[in-house]
């Protein structure tokens, strides 16, 4: 599974960072950055939570 982030959609709520700190960070303007597009399986639940709470629907998981 691969994580995709559309930074153009990001509204800098920081929700993804709170849900999955090992996978997401923010740049100086608060816009989300993907730290790890193929996170370890044990982080998948956190990533799913990040997807669920992202207000801008900017994150998704794709089959790879």
């Amino acid at each position: 599974m691969k994580v995709e982030l559309e930074a153009d959609k990001c509204v800098a709520s920081g929700q993804c960072v709170l849900a999955a700190m090992d996978v997401f960070d923010q740049d100086d303007d608060g816009i989300a950055i993907l730290l790890e597009d193929r996170p370890a399986p044990e982080l998948l639940d956190d990533v799913k939570e990040a997807i669920a709470v992202c207000p801008a629907a900017a994150i998704r998981l794709v089959e790879q």
């Binding site: 959609k9 800098a12 709520s13 920081g14 923010q26 303007d29 801008a56």
Partner: protein
């Protein structure tokens, strides 16, 4: 009430219930019982507003998120069908980007996102802890009954947002009075307009000073955008006004109403009083945000193209109101939703809204509330309400729900 608010031009008998609805007198923390009824019956229903218009009311969680995340719905209050309310922005102009759509909304919003990044907010936590400790010290130095709103709940967010923006806290009496008028539903549009113009004038002048002589604060950063020609002075003033207002009433009401809810749920209060686990405190904050939901008049939008939500087609030009308070009590998402349970995972609540307009200040609000709920009851373990619950005046007359005063003793 029904007679006064009835639509005088309607020819047909109308069954749409009025919105907003009254809460049950004995359940000040619960949404109105009629809202719960509507949620049980259908995800969407027509309601009637004070002016006779009949927008859609969305009551369920999934459907609310679908509407708020849809680019075919507009936050522009000038759009046809936008559900009218006596608006807090009754002054001139719009309350900046919260009343705009992308791409202009995104362009303006991104100008002020930097200070709200998680790490920058975390860096403020020690300073917020010092302010909280100082305010509690001052309270403890007093005796008898203290109003928690005046002594603690309002000064904390006010001090913090003033510091962040670079607005002199010494002027707080002036702008707190004005912002209170702006969020009071019983204020006339003229009163709200006057209050809004007063604070806007004050902020416009302060922005002028920061343009001439920038400092290390958010107002100076906004001023820099004016200097760079990215926005004009009026847009900058509207942005500053939005940030100042949003930083005040919301967090203050969460602190006071949250404390009252905890005092009425002693078993839950005990959890906070006896823990030093930041995870439990963080979870408690999310649950109180879900349970109390102080933005109790719903989030409003106008639909710009026909959309289908919850099996219902909403036509272009129709209005939609998301009653977020009842979505946060949707049993499909939050089992046993009317129970305050600080240990539940409530993070998916929509207390900050959803979609591109979701609250910009939420990391700051969360951090402030975590410091407050993690400190206040440990420092004052005997904190108690100093009047009967029936005597507490709830803010049914404001855009942000809460209590007018909270007399406490210890």
């Amino acid at each position: 009430m029904a007679d006064i608010l009835a639509d005088p031009v309607s020819q047909e008998p109308d069954t749409a219930p009025e919105f907003p609805m009254p809460r049950a007198a004995r359940c000040p923390f619960d949404p109105p019982p009629a809202l719960k009824e509507l949620q049980r019956e259908a995800p969407l229903t027509r309601v009637r507003l004070w002016d006779g218009s009949e927008p859609w009311l969305v009551t369920r969680y999934a459907e609310q998120r679908a509407v708020l995340g849809d680019a075919r719905v507009s936050a522009d209050t000038d759009r046809p069908g936008y559900p009218t309310k006596a608006s807090p922005d009754a002054g001139e102009g719009k309350l900046s980007f919260i009343m705009m759509d992308d791409p202009e909304h995104a362009r303006l919003r991104r100008m002020v996102t930097a200070p709200f990044a998680i790490k920058k907010i975390e860096a403020l936590r020690p300073a917020v802890q010092r302010i909280v400790d100082g305010l509690i010290d001052d309270m403890l130095a007093r005796s008898g009954t203290v109003d928690l709103v005046e002594a603690f709940a309002l000064p904390l967010p006010s001090l913090v947002i003033c510091e962040l923006l670079g607005v002199p806290y010494d002027d707080h009496a002036f702008f707190q009075d004005s912002t209170k008028t702006m969020v009071r539903t019983t204020a006339t549009p003229a009163e709200r307009g006057a209050a809004s113009r007063e604070v806007a004038g004050y902020l416009a002048e302060l922005l002028g000073k920061r343009i001439a002589d920038p400092r290390d604060d958010l107002l100076s950063s906004i001023a820099g955008r004016v200097t760079a020609g990215e926005i004009d002075h009026r847009q900058a003033t509207e942005m500053a006004l939005l940030l100042l207002i949003a930083g005040h009433e919301t967090t203050a009401n969460m602190i006071a109403l949250g404390t009252l809810a905890l005092l009425e749920h002693p078993d839950q209060l005990a959890l906070l009083r006896e823990t030093d686990d930041p995870k439990l405190v963080a979870s408690a904050v999310e649950e109180l945000l879900r349970y109390l939901h102080i933005t109790h008049l719903g989030r409003r939008r106008a639909v710009t193209e026909d959309i289908e939500i919850g099996g219902q087609v909403i036509r272009a030009g129709e209005g939609v109101i998301m009653a977020n308070e009842i979505a946060n009590r949707d049993p499909e998402v939050f089992p046993d939703p009317d129970r305050l349970d600080l240990t539940r995972d409530a993070r998916r609540h929509v207390a900050f809204g959803f979609g591109v307009h979701q609250c910009l200040g939420q990391p700051l609000a969360r951090m402030e509330l975590q410091v407050v709920y993690g400190t206040l009851y440990r420092r004052i373990p005997t904190l108690k309400l100093a009047c009967p619950l029936e005597d507490v005046r709830f803010k049914d007359d404001a855009f942000i729900y809460g209590v007018h005063e909270l007399p406490v003793a210890w």
